[in-house]
Every structure is written in C-alpha cells, then in structure tokens.
Amino acid sequence: MSSLVRRRLAVWLLAGVVAFEVAVPAVGLITTDPPRRYSWSMFVESSTTYAYTGRAADGTTRPLDTGTLPWPQSTVHYGSTVPDLLCGAHPDLVAVSRTWDGLPEREQPC
C-alpha cells in the first residue's frame, strides 16, 4: 500500500472517530435524562426536590402547590421569588417555608 493511500485511509478513519465523538453524546442527549453519562452533560440539573409549606395565623400549616403561579417565576426555587408569589396567592398565610430535599430552609414571613 502506498504512503499516500495509507495516509488517506488514516484520514478517513480519523473522520470516523470525529463522527463517533459527535454521535455518542447526541444519542445520550436524545435517549436519556440527566444525569447522563457519555454526553458531557455536566452540572445540568440541580437534582433537588423542592417543597413549600404555608403557615396560617392560627399556627396551622399546609403544603402549597406552585403549579398555579406564573411561569417562569414559579420555577425559581431559591431566594424569595416563589415565597413572595405564594404569600400573594394565599392572603391567609403569615409565613412560607421551603425545603430542599427535605431539609428546611429559612421561613419567610409574608
């Protein structure tokens, strides 16, 4: 095999490697959910479960649903964005608290 043919063959093989580099993460991206492997999906999702609880003036508490809040503010689960919206949506509440993976964050007064 001549050197030129060998070199051309090597170039085609290397082009195949590049196609493989591109295809593997694409397949992972399309067919799997985070956290993905082999797809260079790094720090993509928070992997955190958020829950909100409201406290009324008489001391009773109840879980709160963020589904009725305006989007995209309802998806911001840090800071005071969602607690402020929940306080506005439920005038009987005196405070809203949030848990991250079951761990309580501070309670925010309404």
Binding site: L14, E21, L29, R36, F43, E45, S47, Y78, G79, W100
Partner: protein, 286 residues
C-alpha cells in the same frame, strides 16, 4: 471557510501531552486509592466479582508509571494508550465514572494517535537538534483532539438549555455549599444571567477556538469559565481538585488550536520520521 492545516506545531501538542500526563498521574493516585479510602469499587464490569482493593491499587500504579512516561515523552504514544486503557479499567471495570475521568480516557486514546512525542520528549532529545525535536507534526490526529474539545463544550452548552438550569436552580443548589459565594448572591438577578452566560460562553468557546481572530477571546472566556466553576461549584478541596483537573484537560486543549509558534517566523522544513510517509507539501510557511 475553515481551512484545515496539513501540519501543526509539535511543541503545543507536546505541551498538552505533558498536561494530560500530569492529570493522569493525579487520577492514578486517586482512582487506585479509592477502594482504600472508602469508595468501594463496583463488581467487575457490573456483573463480575468484586475485586479486592490491591488489584485497583496495582492498576493505579501501572497507570501512574504510564502517566510518568507520557509526561517525559518516553514511548509516549503507547504510554498514552496505556493510560487510556487503565482509565477505562477504572471507569467500566470498577464503576468509577465521572465526566472528567471519561474525558481523560478519551483524550489519552486520541493522544496516542498523534505524534505527541515529537518535541519535549526522550525521543526528541535523543534525536538531537536541542530540545526542539520535530518542528511540525501531521495535523489530522491533532484536529481530532481539537474536535473533542469542541464536542465537550458544545454538548455541555446544549444539555444546559433546560428550565432547571437556566432558572438558576442548579447554580443555587451547588453555590449554597460554596464557601466562596455569599448567600446574598443567590438571587435571580445574579444567577439567571450567570446561567445564560455559562451556556453562551461554552458555545462561544466551542467554536471560536477554531478562528484565529476570535481565539484570544475564547481562551480568556474559557479560562474565566473554569475559574468561575471552581469558585461557584466547589464545596471543598476535593471538588477544587476535580474541577481543576477537568479545567486542565479542557483549557490545556486550547494549546492544540495554535497554528503557529508565537514569536517564530520564517520558513520551516519539517523533519520527517522514518516511519511516516512524506507529507504532500513539506515546505510550510509560518
């Protein structure tokens, strides 16, 4: 239109080889010692027996020696392949998957395709000519490594285009454990622009590295991105080291995008290896 070079500088490739070797040495230490430090290895390839810790320690020792050979350039190509195989053993054999370990496997194997010991190596010193060794190397295998760097950044950006990341939730959940980020910074006015900025920066770095005009900005943006990751996402020394190793593998890859040696000019006639066929054009203007 993107013009791909026939040859590329050997020293930049050698520089990346040294960086990959250093990362491999650190990972050999970490992965080999992991079973002894409390991170038990999974059953062999997920289905076989659980191998005792000394087996993984021995594999780490082999990988460490191969990493040393990569750094010094002693039989660097087979040594890089051996690093890749050892890393594969840890990733798939022991179940120690992480994105940067997978990246180490990928670049080590791709490095073994290149003429990575053409400069700054035992071979180049034995060959005479100072430490310069061969000035230029055949480009296509290096272009594959370049493509790998682009693929990493591009997919990192694409996979972040989702509400959970762009809303800042991801950054908030990691940053609240960082000792370097004040709690007052964990507000949408800060984290939402940061999230969008991270995606745009990754896309910019992925493609701007290929443009000689945009490359300096891409290098600054990329290094800044990785420094930002270390500050925002690290919850301890281990995370700093891991993110630092990842940054070394990716930012080190920026060297591969240099088409010419800074400060050098004139005409260079690349020295051919006996094992390599002649280049189509041996006269290259730098």
């Amino acid at each position: 239109m993107l013009r791909l070079p026939q040859t590329l500088p050997a020293r930049q490739l050698a520089g990346y080889r040294v960086l990959v070797g250093l990362v491999a040495g650190a990972k050999a230490l970490e992965l080999g010692a992991s079973p002894l430090l409390g991170t038990a290895a999974s059953p062999l390839f997920g289905v076989g027996p659980v191998l005792p810790a000394p087996v993984w320690l021995a594999l780490g020792a082999v990988m460490g020696l191969a990493a040393l050979a990569v750094v010094t350039g002693w039989h660097a190509r087979p040594a890089a392949l051996l690093v890749g195989l050892c890393t594969a053993g840890f990733v798939w054999g022991a179940g120690y998957y992480s994105n940067h370990t997978y990246l180490l496997f990928t670049v080590a194997v791709l490095l073994s395709f290149t003429d990575c010991d053409a400069a700054w190596s035992v071979r180049s010193r034995r060959g005479g000519g100072g430490d310069g060794g061969t000035e230029r190397v055949w480009a296509p295998p290096v272009l594959v490594l370049r493509a790998q760097i682009t693929v990493v950044y591009a997919y990192a950006a694409i996979s972040k285009i989702r509400p959970d990341f762009l809303s800042g939730n991801g950054l908030a959940s990691w940053a609240r454990d960082s000792v370097l980020v004040p709690a007052a910074a964990l507000v949408p006015a800060v984290l939402v622009p940061m999230a969008f900025g991270a995606v745009l920066t990754e896309l910019f770095v992925a493609f701007a590295l290929w443009s000689s005009r945009l490359r300096p900005a891409a290098v600054v943006a990329g290094v800044g991105l990785h420094l930002g990751m270390i500050v925002v996402l690290s919850d301890g020394l281990h995370a700093v080291v891991e993110l630092g190793l990842f940054a070394t593998l990716t930012c080190g890859g920026y060297l591969l995008f240099a088409d010419r040696v800074p400060g050098a000019g004139g005409v260079v006639v690349p020295r051919q290896r006996r094992s390599e066929p002649a280049l189509p054009g041996v006269l290259t203007r730098r």
